[in-house]
Structures are given as structure tokens and as C-alpha cells.
């Protein structure tokens, strides 16, 4: 009896301690420290091209700011950068700036009190809107403020293997891939001829971000730029959503796309004749594939210069753990200046999220014609919607899509209606 009293008392003490520890309180930062200057730390992505860009940017800044030195490092290794950043926010050791912040994770980081509103800087909104133009609006949060600096996009397009197209008797310079019917016919020719085991092989796995590389680019194109959720309502329970879903369902049903997760890169390995990727992939492919690009298809065959796609953007977040936010804001502006954006383009081939990209850097696009089409495409991108429970929304979509479209269980109409209702519910929650 006495022992059970002791155990109960200990448990109660533990719970009370936890309650005390977890009660929150305080604030993630105040307007007072927005002007504070001094050394800061930043994280950038761990791909080789971005490391080169980050190093030169930091060197350029440090050379002129001896009292506000920037210490930079690659984002620590983890399953995904979102998880690493979330852990750093919780631990209170996030750096001042992270040049690898996924827009999908921004609502979560914001809710955690981890992000500084860039709109709270006097020139915050003006700077962002001037640099990114109309596209900036997609990155504003529900309260109208910017908790992320729109930084760069990788508008995704269809890459195709010219050798495989030639082998299948298709024209590698003008492939018929603009309408769903054309795309399906071309895919059938590719597989039936034996030129490729699969026509295209988007990852059929269950991760929340996979729709960004199969359903969403085509949905953006089919709708002329409609987001998955607008005005807190799912938009895809529509003719456009049905058309895109039925297109992909046919691809899986006929074995033109694989249902099993492929270990490796299906396109590079010659397992599929096409892939959906952004311009980052150009340097990754190197000389392994002789490729061409076309916009993603639509049911009616939208002209290339009117076709939308998914942006696959990565932005910059400023984190509340930062002590010298004044310097962080200055570094953020410096690193997204016309000069540094030019460096980003030059060194990584990724598209800075600034308006009139192709006319701002005409020399680059003249010298690198392969990237010009992406530069143009960067003007017509859809972003992940900036809504509550963003990642949960995508996971719910992926689970239902996987069942109905990839594995053909149930009908498309029910999938769209039920999932739209589920997502409406998720975005209405805090």
C-alpha cells in the first residue's frame, strides 16, 4: 500500500514537472531585436552546386562586414530537411537563416513559433514583392505576412530520353507529348517497341511530397495555375482533377508507369524513357542521358508558353532563435540581390524567384539555351498552398491517390470527393 502511494506520488510529481516544463509562454522574438547586428550562422543545402554558391556568397559578405561575420554550414544530415529544421526549432538551436526551407513546412514552423515574420522588417514586404512580383503572393501566410523569403524555384517539366524515342521510331526533336492522348500513345509505343521498360516512372511511394512530381504539375497545367487548396477549400474535386487522375490511372493500369518503388533513378538507369524534374537535374544527368524537355501535358494540349507547372521551390526562413536579426535581414537581402541571384543561376542552374528572370539575365540564358525554357516556365508555377496542416493535407491526398490512382482500387470520383472533404476539414483546423 505504502509503495503504491509512493509510486503514485512520484508519477504525479513527474506529470506536474512535465506540465510546468511544457506550459509554453514567452515569445519567439520581438520587434525590439529586429535591428540587432552581429555575427550570424546560416545553413544551406548539401548539394555540391549550392555549397559552391553558399561559399562564395558568404565570402563576399564577410569581406565587407568584419563585425557581422557569417558562419555557414550545410544543413545537418537527416531523413528530410523539414525534420532537421523542426528539431532545431524545438531545441532552440536553429541558425538565423536556412536556405532550404520547404514552403510546405512553413505553416508548421510558423505555428511552432520558429519563424520570424519578414513583414515585420520595415522594408520587408516591399523588398519581397519587388523582387518576386505577382508570384510572391503565393508565399504569404494566412495573416498576409511573409514568414519565408521566396528564393528559388525548380519548375518541373518532362525530360525524355532521345535515344529511346529514336529506338521506338518516335521523333526525338518533336515528340508528341502535349495532350493526354498523345502522351498515352507515345508511352504505349515506347513500351510496346521494347525501347523502354516503362514510359515514365514517378515514385509510386507514400511520402507526402510525391504528388508534387506526378499529380500536382499536371493539375497546375490543366487548371492554368490553380493551387490544390484555395480560400481554404480543396479545388481538385473537379473536371480538371478527374482528368489528371484518370490520365495517371491509365498509365498505371496499362503498365506504362511502375507501381513498385524503384531503387535508384529510373530515368538515369534506363528503366524509363521519361521523368518529371526541374532544372537542377540537368547537371545531375550530366552525360548519362541525351535528353530533351517538354512542358507537362494537358487534356487539350496547352501551348508551351501558357502551361503552368509545380514550382518545387525552396525558400529562406529566418528563425526566432537568431539573436542578430538585423544582420540576418541584411544578409538575406544581400544573398537575394540581383548579383547573388545571378550567381545562383550560374552555379546551380536553379531559377531565382524574381520577376522578369529571363530579361534580367539575358547573357546567361543566351549562353545556356537548355535552361531558357525553365526560365520561361518559372513565370508560370503553382506552389503548395500555404495552409494549416499543410503536410497532413498532402499525406491525406497521397494516401487516397495511391489507392485509387496507382493501385486502381475504388473509383476516381469517390477518391476526389472524399479527399476534398477530408482536406477541407484539415485546413479548417488550427
Amino acid at each position: 500500500m505504502r509503495r503504491s502511494i509512493k509510486v503514485t506520488a512520484l508519477a504525479a510529481a513527474g506529470v506536474l514537472t512535465l506540465t510546468a516544463c511544457s506550459g509554453g509562454g514567452g515569445g519567439g522574438g520581438s520587434a525590439d531585436d529586429l535591428e540587432t547586428k552581429g555575427p550570424i550562422t546560416i545553413w544551406y543545402s548539401n548539394n555540391a552546386a549550392e555549397i559552391d554558391w553558399g561559399k562564395q556568397m558568404v565570402e563576399a559578405w564577410n569581406a565587407d562586414h568584419p563585425d557581422e561575420q557569417v558562419k555557414a554550414q550545410e544543413i545537418p544530415a537527416g531523413n528530410s530537411s523539414e525534420e532537421v529544421i523542426a528539431a532545431a526549432i524545438t531545441a532552440g538551436n536553429a541558425p538565423c537563416l536556412i536556405y532550404n526551407t520547404s514552403p510546405a513546412a512553413v505553416p508548421q514552423f510558423e505555428k511552432a513559433g520558429g519563424l520570424v515574420s519578414l513583414s515585420s522588417f520595415q522594408d520587408g514586404d516591399d523588398y519581397i514583392q519587388e523582387r518576386s512580383g505577382d508570384n510572391a503572393a503565393q508565399y504569404a501566410s494566412a495573416d498576409g505576412e511573409f514568414y519565408q523569403m521566396p528564393w528559388k524555384s525548380n519548375p518541373v517539366m518532362i525530360f525524355y530520353n532521345k535515344a529511346m524515342f529514336t529506338e521506338a521510331g518516335l521523333d526525338p526533336e518533336a515528340p508528341e507529348l502535349s495532350t493526354y492522348d498523345d502522351f498515352l500513345a507515345t508511352s504505349r509505343t515506347l513500351t510496346e517497341s521494347g525501347a523502354a521498360p516503362y514510359a515514365i516512372y514517378p515514385a509510386p511511394s507514400s511520402e507526402f511530397y510525391q504528388p508534387w512530381f506526378d499529380f500536382y504539375p499536371l493539375y497546375g497545367a490543366e487548371t492554368g495555375g490553380t493551387l490544390l487548396v484555395e480560400d481554404n477549400k480543396a479545388t481538385f474535386d473537379s473536371e480538371a482533377g478527374t482528368a489528371v487522375s484518370e490520365f495517371w490511372a491509365t498509365m498505371y493500369e496499362e503498365g506504362l508507369s511502375g507501381q513498385e518503388p524503384y531503387q535508384g533513378d529510373s530515368f538515369v538507369d534506363g528503366n524509363s524513357a521519361m521523368t518529371i524534374a526541374g532544372p537542377w537535374a540537368i547537371s545531375y544527368f550530366g552525360d548519362t542521358v541525351d535528353w530533351g524537355t517538354v512542358p507537362v501535358p494537358t487534356s487539350a494540349g496547352t501551348p508551351a508558353d501558357e502551361t503552368y507547372t509545380f514550382s518545387d521551390a525552396k525558400n529562406v526562413g529566418m528563425f526566432t532563435a537568431c539573436k542578430n536579426k538585423g544582420t540576418a535581414w541584411d544578409v538575406l537581402k544581400f544573398s537575394t540581390s540581383e548579383e547573388q541571384d545571378g550567381q545562383l543561376l550560374e552555379l546551380t542552374g536553379q531559377m531565382p524567384l524574381r520577376q522578369d528572370l529571363t530579361t534580367t539575365y539575358p547573357d546567361y540564358f543566351d549562353a545556356n539555351p537548355a535552361y531558357e525554357v525553365f526560365g520561361d516556365q518559372a513565370n508560370r508555377v503553382v506552389e503548395v498552398p500555404n495552409v494549416s496542416n499543410s503536410i497532413e493535407v498532402w499525406q491525406a491526398f497521397r494516401d487516397a491517390y495511391s489507392k485509387a490512382v496507382i493501385f486502381g482500387e475504388g473509383d476516381i470520383a469517390t477518391f476526389l470527393t472524399d479527399t476534398a472533404a477530408e482536406i477541407d476539414d484539415l485546413v479548417s483546423q488550427d
Partner: protein, 318 residues
């Protein structure tokens, strides 16, 4: 010469009594041998910090609107009663995950017990290459799942070796993307991978079975099968209970294998385990309170299963 007066005698008695009382109090607090407590302290602290604290914290989280936040962030964490448990109970994905792990345990646990015991008994009697055989079974256990998954994918993926051998008899859809076969395939993988440890446990237990019992059985004319069921199986009952409990607990914590073999629990969530779902909800989607509720339910279910197993097998005392 020392004279003991009644007064001093009373004082001495009082001091002794006080001393005895304090010794009793110390014994109550520190036990018969305080050194034992000192030696056990590191482990007790480890258990407290690594197991007890997170468990209590998880229970607390499951009853609150909890999400990870920056230190000092002004966030409310309201008591929400059973809301998180209701969210879990009304989520078909959670039910599916528990069903999946149920299928897993039904395949994995009996298979583990039976195969481990049979192989251990065979190894115990092996005359040649005993060490080599023991190491062979143990190697998968100590090899990282990530490495072994590659081998398993080489065998069981669509164009894998097994399907090539089976030819037209290969399942369609293939093993790991077949809603009916994904979980059994994972269960087989985990059984094979974990067998080494359980064989070692049984081998240790077999050493403790008195040889006289085997001699008596032989004298009585019992055959190999009869001896196995009459002597070996009862002789390793404690080890069987341990194997059952360990297999159940590690099986209920299934995460790495479905995560790596089916890239996040496909197809259609047919291989999603509760722990994998906890990972998705808690770390990916920012709902650690819901994840904690799943965890609490899982712990309770595992405890219930463990109690049933203990009753079914019995232990030394019973």
C-alpha cells in the same frame, strides 16, 4: 572499575534503541545492502531518463493539444481529454496499421518461436561446423537492416530473383506491392533477420536442461520427437516465454522494415505499422499528441498480449 548505574543503563538502552531505529529506517530506505543500490544506480537513472520519463511525457502529451515549439514560444497546450484518442479511433489508417501489425505478429511470433527452437535444438546436437552454423544464423541479426533490405529487394522486387524463378507462378502484383502479401513478406524478412538472437537464447537454455532427463527418456524408449516434446520443450519454457515476449515487443515496434522495403507503408497503407504512423504523424506532420495517443494504445495492447502469453506459457514460479 566502572560502575554502571541504573541511569546510565537507561541512557545506553535509549541510544541503542535509537540506533536500531535509525538502522531500520536506513534499511527501509536503502535496502539490506546499500552498495547494491549504488551499483544499480546508473541503470536506474538510465531507465528513468530513457524509458520512464518519455513514457510519462507521452501519456501527458496524449491528453493535451501538444505540438513541438520553439523554446519560449507563446503557445497554449490545452488539456483536451480523450480528443486525441478519438481522433486515433476514427482514423481508418490507424486501424489499418494495427491490423497490419496484428497480421505481422501472427506470422512472426509463432514462426520465430518454432524455428528458433528447432534450429537451436539441431545446432545443439550438430557435430560439425557448430560455430560456423551459429555465426551464420547470427550474422543477419547484427547486420544493419538497411544493408539486408537491399538483399531482400534483390530477391522479392518485381523483377527480382524469386519471381524469375517462379516465372508465371509469381504473384501479380508482386510481393511488396501486393496488398495481401506485403505484410507477410515483411514478417518473413523480420523472422529471418531476428532469428539469430532467439537461437542463441534457446541454445543457452538448452545447456541448462539436465542430461539425465534425456538419458531417462532414452532408457524409457522415447524417440526423438517424443523426447523433444517431453524433455526439450518443457526444459526451455522460461526461454520460450522470453522469446515470445521479445518477439512480440520488437514486432509491435516494427518500423525500419516497412519504411525501407515499401517506402513508407505502401501499397495503400498495407504495410504501415503503428510506429511508422507515429513517425508520420509526430515528426512529419507535426501532430505529436496524436502520435503519442497511438503510442499509448500500442503500449497497452502489447502489455495485454504479453500478459496473455505469460499466462499461456507459464513461468518458472507457476
Amino acid at each position: 572499575m566502572v560502575t554502571i548505574t541504573p541511569e546510565t543503563g537507561t541512557k545506553a538502552d535509549g541510544a541503542d534503541a535509537q540506533h536500531a531505529r535509525s538502522a531500520r529506517r536506513r534499511r527501509r530506505l536503502l535496502g539490506e545492502n546499500p552498495l547494491g543500490l549504488l551499483l544499480a544506480a546508473p541503470y536506474l537513472i538510465f531507465v528513468g531518463v530513457i524509458f520512464a520519463y518519455p513514457l510519462v511525457f507521452a501519456v501527458w502529451m496524449s491528453f493535451h493539444d501538444y505540438f513541438f515549439s520553439a523554446p519560449g514560444a507563446d503557445v497554449e497546450r490545452e488539456f483536451v481529454g480523450f480528443d486525441n484518442f478519438i481522433a486515433v479511433a476514427t482514423d481508418p489508417a490507424v486501424w489499418r496499421s494495427f491490423l497490419n501489425v496484428g497480421v505481422f505478429l501472427i506470422i512472426n511470433v509463432p514462426l520465430t518461436v518454432v524455428l528458433s527452437l528447432l534450429l537451436a535444438a539441431a545446432l545443439n546436437r550438430a557435430l560439425h561446423a557448430k560455430i560456423f552454423l551459429r555465426v551464420s544464423f547470427y550474422v543477419p541479426y547484427v547486420t544493419a537492416s538497411v544493408a539486408l533490405v537491399a538483399v531482400w529487394l534483390f530477391l522479392f522486387s518485381g523483377p527480382g530473383l524469386v519471381n524469375q524463378i517462379l516465372g508465371p507462378l509469381a504473384p501479380d502484383p508482386s510481393w511488396l506491392i501486393n496488398p495481401w502479401l506485403a505484410m507477410p513478406t515483411i514478417a518473413l524478412f523480420v523472422t529471418w533477420k531476428g532469428m539469430g538472437l532467439f537461437i542463441l537464447l534457446y541454445l543457452a537454455a538448452l545447456q541448462a536442461v539436465p542430461k539425465e532427463l534425456y538419458e531417462s527418456a532414452a532408457t524409457d524408449g522415447a524417440g526423438a520427437v517424443r523426447t523433444f516434446f517431453a524433455v526439450t520443450v518443457p526444459g526451455v519454457r522460461s526461454a520460450t516465454l522470453l522469446v515470445l515476449l521479445l518477439a512480440t515487443i520488437t514486432g509491435a515496434n516494427l518500423f525500419t522494415e516497412p519504411y525501407l522495403l515499401t517506402n513508407g507503408g505502401g501499397p495503400n497503407g498495407a504495410s504501415t505499422s503503428p510506429v511508422l504512423l507515429m513517425y508520420q504523424k509526430g515528426l512529419e506532420q507535426g501532430d505529436p499528441d496524436v502520435a503519442a495517443a497511438i503510442g499509448v494504445i500500442l503500449v497497452i495492447l502489447v502489455l495485454v498480449i504479453a500478459l496473455i502469453e505469460r499466462r499461456a506459457v507459464g513461468d518458472e514460479e507457476s
